[in-house]
């Protein structure tokens, strides 16, 4: 298992862990409060923006650069919407274990990508983007939407979902075009 995939697996495990915990405590209050859900959403967007900015400084592939720009543009738009909604609702995003797990995973993924150059970097970055967007989709479906109590915050998450799914398809498509290491490495 590659390091980026390992990080993604860790992240999914953390998110699924929250779901399991919630199932075990079905009668108790939701595991994530709305301020915590808002924090997770903002954190997840911020992580992908930072990764895309780093990718833009590292890649020489025009399509990968364009993909990274789309990640910056889209996730910034989502975060602006989330911030506006939080302000409207009077919600202050609250740090929590899921956000911390995301940040920890991102830090390690970044360290792994730092060592790579050229086509190897492009492949690893896109592998990570595929795994990350899949994990975020899982988190939206299994943790964030079911846990969120406020209807407007839940609608924001639901509205964002198609964009995340499109990013996932875009990343898969681009990754497919880059081919396997044995065919593209110099």
């Amino acid at each position: 298992m590659s390091r980026s995939r390992y990080q993604a697996a860790l992240m999914v495990a953390a998110l699924v862990g929250v779901t399991s915990l919630r199932a075990q405590n079905a009668a108790a209050a939701p595991d994530l409060s709305d301020p915590e859900v808002a924090h997770v959403a903002v954190t997840a967007n911020g992580i992908d923006i930072d990764m895309a900015k780093f990718a833009q400084t590292r890649t020489h592939n025009a399509a990968v650069k364009q993909f990274a720009q789309t990640m910056i543009t889209d996730h910034s738009a989502v975060n602006a919407q989330a911030a506006a909604l939080a302000q409207k609702l009077g919600v202050t995003p609250a740090d929590n274990a899921v956000s911390q797990s995301l940040q920890s995973g991102a830090k390690q993924a970044r360290a792994s990508l730092e060592r790579l150059r050229g086509a190897a970097f492009d492949r690893a970055y896109l592998d990570r983007e595929v795994a990350y967007h899949q994990a975020v989709l899982d988190a939206i479906d299994k943790v964030l939407v079911p846990t969120t109590e406020n209807a407007e915050l839940r609608k924001l998450l639901t509205d964002v979902r198609p964009a995340i799914a499109t990013h996932l398809e875009h990343a898969k498509q681009l990754r497919g075009q880059l081919g396997s290491p044995s065919r593209t490495s110099k």
């Binding site: 789309t70 889209d74 738009a77 989502v78 919407q81 509205d159 198609p162 499109t166 398809e169 875009h170």
Partner: protein, 100 residues
């Protein structure tokens, strides 16, 4: 008699405006039939920005549309005009432009 003359002169149908909504990362409708001279307006309902950009021979582009913004194109050349969102290459649409 006057109506028939207008039809024969190609003036029988006033250009109309069609709307394509962009929502859920899709163009709605994805395939639209219009007459030459008609205007197509794309309205972005998504949180993220989009474009409607020609991918065929005739070049046109709405530019980036943020949420709530609209862009337009007057369909000139008859035939099929395919387009996509440059930000999200998995999003495609098609105009079928017929005689007026």
């Amino acid at each position: 008699m006057i109506v028939w003359l207008l039809v024969l002169l190609g003036l029988g149908r006033a250009p109309t405006t069609h709307t394509v909504e962009i929502r859920g990362m899709e163009f709605h409708p994805a395939v639209l039939t219009v007459a030459a001279g008609d205007t197509v307006v794309w309205v972005n309902r998504d949180i993220v920005p989009h474009t409607a950009t020609a991918t065929g021979g005739t070049k046109w582009d709405t530019g980036q549309l943020t949420q709530g913004q609209a862009g337009r194109y007057i369909a000139h050349a008859r035939g099929t005009a395919r387009y996509a969102c440059t930000l999200h290459p998995t999003m495609h649409g098609k105009l079928i432009i017929t005689n007026n």
